[in-house]
């Protein structure tokens, strides 16, 4: 049985990292991730982790060192935000294509410019095609739980892909919440030992990592990467069930709330899902048929499962905390709408961009979204496909 403590998201992440006890952590400080790195540095300084910590001179080197460490058979972790993730960009793709199970906490922050240190999802959404598994967390507890599960998911033999676990900058990273922490030995038993069958340190059977791969093989290698991420949902679910046996907390590909019999549904990722949940509870008490679909794994995107749970729903509003400039809507909206395309009677789907650069979103705005959904369901007419919440216009 674990213990209950008060932790911020950054601290919960550092705590998970302490219990995972990675062989190598290579990290660079950036707001709002900084406290994760600080706290973990204290664990290293006190000698309570076996980790070799590489205090790199940039995020580019952080991810490069993680690639080197994972290829050398070490369990490697890092954490970053926004511009830090952007600086890693090139190497994120390489980590995935080398099939290295690097684990990274991404504390969501608006990507410059103009420079802004507060939350939105432009950083991780921008990295959605890098080949990483992406898991979004609603609160400190989920950030902690997801990070521990991420180790197993990444290292599963048939998956072997890097995983990023995201949570909202400041809103979660700096907010103290009640977190249930597992025992150290429970975590180490759950994650097991990492064995890289192709370690660079196995000098008796030398391997070559990162050869030039031209038109005669590159495509097949990319297909294998696709296969790996396509297999991952069942692995994520299996590990979610095992994690429930251990902790009592169950994680699926998405988090559902009052979807049974729901006619009006909001889709959201990150801390906003929590805000929506409280509105759903309130409106449900009044007998309104509202629900929430919470995005957990954005990559892989569970399109089939989402289409199933939304069957029979009359109107859906997708909340996106990032923009895909020039696209038909935010990144989550595009996925959801596409997932519903083959439905015989798809619900009306609208998109709301919100919370850019840390702009707050409150229950009143969410109530207004449900009101709009009600009107859309009633009139069967969508006036505005993409709207903006909390924006001065």
């Amino acid at each position: 049985m674990g213990r209950i403590v008060g932790l911020t998201g950054d601290e919960a992440t550092a705590e998970a990292m302490r219990q995972i006890n990675p062989d190598v952590v290579a990290a660079y400080p950036i707001t709002p991730q900084t406290e994760t790195v600080q706290r973990f540095s204290e664990f290293v300084a006190d000698g309570i982790v076996a980790t070799e910590m590489v205090r790199v001179e940039s995020e580019h080197s952080a991810m490069s060192a993680c690639v080197g460490a994972a290829a050398a058979g070490a369990r490697a972790m890092t954490a970053t935000s926004a511009n830090g993730l952007a600086l890693m960009w090139e190497i994120c793709y390489i980590a995935a294509s080398y099939r290295l199970p690097v684990i990274m906490a991404v504390v969501n922050r608006a990507l410059s410019g103009p420079i802004n240190i507060h939350c939105d999802h432009s950083d991780s959404m921008g990295a959605r095609d890098a080949g990483w598994i992406q898991i979004y967390s609603e609160n400190c507890q989920e950030a902690y739980d997801n990070l521990i599960q991420a180790v197993r998911i990444a290292e599963e033999e048939k998956v072997r892909l890097p995983v990023m676990v995201t949570f909202d900058g400041f809103i979660i990273s700096h907010a103290m919440e009640r977190v249930e922490i597992l025992e150290d030995d429970e975590v180490s038993q759950f994650i097991g030992k990492y064995k890289n069958a192709y370690s660079l340190l196995d000098v008796d059977s030398p391997v070559t990592y990162g050869p030039l791969d031209l038109y005669d093989y590159y495509f097949e290698h990319k297909r294998q990467q696709i296969e790996a991420i396509e297999i991952s949902p069942e692995v994520i679910q299996k590990i979610g069930r095992e994690f429930k046996d251990l902790s009592g907390r169950y994680y699926d590909l998405m988090g559902n709330c009052h979807l049974e019999g729901a006619e009006l549904v909001i889709v959201a990722a990150g801390s906003t899902a929590g805000t929506v949940k409280s509105v759903v509870d309130e409106l449900r008490e009044k007998g309104e048929k509202v629900g929430l679909l919470k995005i957990r794994t954005f990559r892989p995107f569970p399109a089939k499962q989402i289409a199933e749970v939304l069957r029979g729903v009359r109107a859906v509003a997708v909340l996106d905390r990032s923009v895909s400039f020039g696209a038909q809507g935010g990144p989550i909206f595009l996925e959801i709408r596409s997932a519903l395309f083959d439905e015989i009677k798809p619900p009306a789907v609208v998109n709301y961009i919100y919370g850019l650069g840390g702009r707050d979103i409150g229950v009143d705005e969410i109530k207004r979204v449900y009101k709009n959904l009600e009107r859309i369901a009633h009139t069967k007419k969508v006036d505005e496909l993409v709207g903006y919440l909390g924006l001065r216009e």
Partner: protein
């Protein structure tokens, strides 16, 4: 140091059949370096000629564990490998002694990879970084780098009517920049002086901490010379004072080889097509300036080494 005869009996760790050009300095340097290593080596390479020519999938010329990640991060990638080694060794998960060597060309070291290299030096990783310096971006087709010497013609510093001299700026002195990091062992070497090179590699590998060797690497394509002359031209770089051989051990500079009489710079410039335009009468001034630069550099090196300047 074992004799060359003994060393040459060692198993080649870079096999033949790779696609480097005839006369390329890189493979000669790699073979000399690996000859010098007594313990097993794990190597990283930056994107560049050495990487693309030795590893076109599904082939590899490497008989040692080898990783290429990207262009600017040979140093930081290997620092992760080395950190993994230290961690796993401390935890009792491995017991072998392994040495780590990062390779990068001048583009990947002087330019785009300088920050990653500087970070590795400051953090004190136990690895040897070798720059094979062929003085331009050769893999992409001979573009100027900050290692390109003043006066050299490259595809991005071509000789033109308005700019008759080619590259207008002197090269960056990377070896001294590395030495300024107070690394325990820093050296400059040349494949034409293989005894000196091998000795330096052995010294570096037996030194605790981050070590660095800058090795001049002839490139027949980029320097415009006959491939059969690579080693002779490399030698000229030392004889003319363009590429002095020295080491910096715990801050102490020492010239490891000094020609009895420095050859005129003209011999170096005449040996390669990239300098051909400098021999024209209108570029006489540049020639003189370059000659002065070599003298100045030699003077300052000898001063650092506490040696007398020859007349």
């Amino acid at each position: 140091m074992p004799s060359l005869k003994v060393l040459s009996r060692k198993k080649e760790l870079l096999t033949g059949g790779h696609r480097l050009c005839a006369g390329c300095g890189a493979s000669i340097i790699v073979r000399q370096v690996l000859m010098a290593a007594e313990d097993p080596v794990v190597m990283s390479s930056a994107t560049g000629c050495l990487e693309v020519a030795t590893t076109i999938y599904p082939f590899t010329a490497w008989r040692i564990p080898w990783i290429h990640c990207a262009f600017e991060n040979s140093a930081s990638t290997l620092s992760g490998v080395e950190a993994a080694y230290r961690s796993l060794k401390r935890q009792g998960k491995i017991d072998r002694t392994i040495k780590f060597i990062a390779f990068g060309g001048d583009g990947g070291t002087y330019d785009i990879g300088l920050q990653a290299l500087s970070g590795v030096l400051e953090r004190g990783h136990n690895l040897l970084y070798i720059c094979y310096d062929n003085q331009a971006y050769m893999n992409t087709g001979i573009q100027r780098s900050s290692a390109t010497p003043e006066g050299a013609a490259t595809t991005t510093s071509p000789v033109g009517k308005a700019i008759p001299e080619g590259k207008q700026r002197p090269r960056k002195d990377l070896t001294r920049i590395v030495a300024a990091h107070d690394s325990p062992y820093v050296a400059q070497a040349n494949p034409a002086y293989y005894n000196d090179l091998i000795k330096k590699v052995q010294k570096a590998l037996s030194t605790e901490g981050p070590t660095f060797i800058n090795i001049l690497s002839p490139c027949p394509r980029g320097w415009r010379h006959d491939p059969s002359l690579s080693i002779q031209i490399a030698k000229l770089a030392v004889l003319t004072g363009v590429w002095p051989l020295y080491e910096v051990e715990k801050g102490q500079y020492r010239v490891t080889y000094r020609p009895k009489k420095r050859h005129p710079l003209r011999e170096w410039l005449e040996s390669q097509g990239r300098f051909r335009h400098l021999l024209r009468p209108e570029n006489k001034g540049i020639m003189e300036r370059l000659g002065k630069q070599v003298e100045e550099k030699e003077k300052s090196l000898l001063a650092l080494a506490g040696e007398e300047t020859s007349a």
